[in-house]
């Protein structure tokens, strides 16, 4: 009887550890996914910046970069739905405490990205520039409330 109890307890412990390690692995995968998504958004902004600041003959590409920004920002709410505050993350708990504001902020980026995409087909450099700044402002507004301040961020 004692032997059976010991086996059951051991099995439960093993399953518990296995599950928690599985969850931890999943959390870390979530964090990796989020960071890739954010990096991609930054890269698109960087690419547009290179085209505009150096006058590269690639203006026609701006629409594609803007499209990626629009699509990526659409993915943000799903990517951040799971609350993870521990580990290698710069996300502030405010994301989940103010979930509807966070979703609106992601939508604002999507909306401004969409506008950039539309302007990219016909607009002048000044118009691109003004709209690109609008996109940047939405990123900045979201970071202000929902990204940890510099000293608290994890070292990359």
């Amino acid at each position: 009887m004692k032997k059976n109890s010991l086996v059951i307890i051991t099995m439960m412990l093993v399953i518990g550890f296995y599950n928690s390690s599985l969850f931890a692995q999943q959390d870390s995968a979530f964090l990796g996914y989020r960071q890739s998504l954010m990096k991609s958004l930054g890269s698109q902004m960087g690419a547009i910046g290179h085209i505009l600041k150096s006058g590269l003959p690639l203006k026609q590409n701006i629409a594609s970069h803007a499209q990626i920004i629009t699509l990526n920002s659409k993915l943000l709410p799903a990517a951040f739905e799971k609350k993870i505050t521990a580990g290698r993350t710069d996300a502030r708990p405010a994301i989940w405490q103010q979930w509807s504001q966070f979703k609106s902020a992601a939508m604002a980026t999507q909306r401004e990205g969409q506008k950039l995409m539309e302007i990219a087909g016909s607009g002048s450099t000044n118009e691109f520039f003004a709209q690109m700044k609008n996109v940047g402002m939405t990123c900045s507004a979201c970071h202000k409330g929902f990204r940890k301040p510099k000293p608290e961020r994890f070292k990359r």
Partner: protein, 303 residues
């Protein structure tokens, strides 16, 4: 017949004189209005170059433009920015141009002496240590511009700096040790664009106030100018902006820096953060390209 001609000439003379008087008045009014307009334009340009005086707006808490009330944390305590709108009771509406110039040049407020010879000194969170270098013509233009912003009735908050650091009388000694007043002097050995950049960076944009480390008294360490600070505004760190290749921004191309000041976008596509994003949004983005290039010229080789 002759008398009719005389009368006609007389009337013509009166009309001509009347016309001359009206034309002279019109011309004088037009010249004054054009000069005022030009002065306001210059004032706005100066305002933008200072970063839009963004510390005087409590952006985080949705405060009204330039009405102050924003908390600025320092290692000595918290200071609240003041109302610089032309409100007559709570702002600077009752100041004269000379009061404003004195505040910017010397860090001293208007009003009667508080204690014997002691005047109301401002804490050096207000960057008069840099603004002292602004040219008188620019200060007058800025003053005219500030008079045009909508007045806001909002009381200034008292500073929260515990004694002895909170005693303003200490600022006499602080100034003696850490402050040199005086307008910006051009360096004849350098180019015009470099000098323009130096004036913008060191006087108007007051970059060294955040981007330089401070000594134990809170004074700027001038031998480490632009080397960054761990105790920047609002507890944020401010990066090294010297042309050092590894610790500074020496790897940035000139166009990167100009672009950053214009758009707020860093090399990696991330947007400027904290106070830097505010001064770009409220101020630097409005600077003409020639000024942004001048800043880049100076920052790339400040010596």
């Amino acid at each position: 017949m002759e008398s009719a001609i005389k009368t006609g000439r007389y009337f013509l003379l009166i009309i001509w004189r009347y016309f001359l008087v009206v034309a002279a008045c019109w011309l004088s009014i037009s010249i004054t209005l054009a000069a005022d307009k030009q002065l306001l334009k210059q004032g706005e340009a100066v305002f933008r170059a200072t970063g839009g005086c963004s510390c005087h707006t409590d952006i985080k808490n949705g405060g009204q433009r330039l009405a102050g009330g924003r908390s600025l944390m320092t290692p000595f305590g918290t200071v609240f920015s003041t109302n610089i709108t032309p409100d007559k009771i709570t702002g600077i509406g009752n100041w004269q141009a000379d009061d404003f110039i004195k505040a910017m040049r010397m860090g001293v407020g208007p009003g009667e002496k508080q204690f014997f010879f002691f005047q109301k000194h401002y804490f050096p969170v207000f960057p008069y240590t840099s603004f002292t270098r602004i040219r008188a013509s620019d200060l007058r233009a800025l003053w005219q511009y500030l008079k045009t912003v909508p007045p806001v009735n909002s009381l200034n908050k008292p500073v929260e700096i515990p004694p002895p650091f909170g005693w303003r009388i200490n600022l006499i000694f602080w100034n003696w040790l850490n402050f040199t007043s005086g307008e910006f002097k051009t360096n004849p050995a350098k180019s015009e664009i470099w000098n323009r950049g130096a004036y913008l960076v060191r006087a108007l944009a007051h970059c060294e106030e955040c981007h330089s480390p401070r000594n134990m008294m809170g004074g700027i360490q001038h031998d480490k100018l632009f080397m960054g600070s761990k105790e920047g505004p609002e507890g944020e760190s401010a990066p090294n902006i010297t042309p050092h290749k590894t610790t500074g921004i020496g790897m940035w191309e000139r166009s990167d820096l100009t672009w950053f000041l214009k758009s707020g976008l860093k090399l990696d596509g991330d947007f400027a953060e904290g106070v830097m994003s505010e001064v770009i949004v409220e101020g630097y983005q409005y600077l003409p390209d020639s000024d942004l290039e001048a800043i880049t010229e100076y920052i790339s080789s400040p010596q």
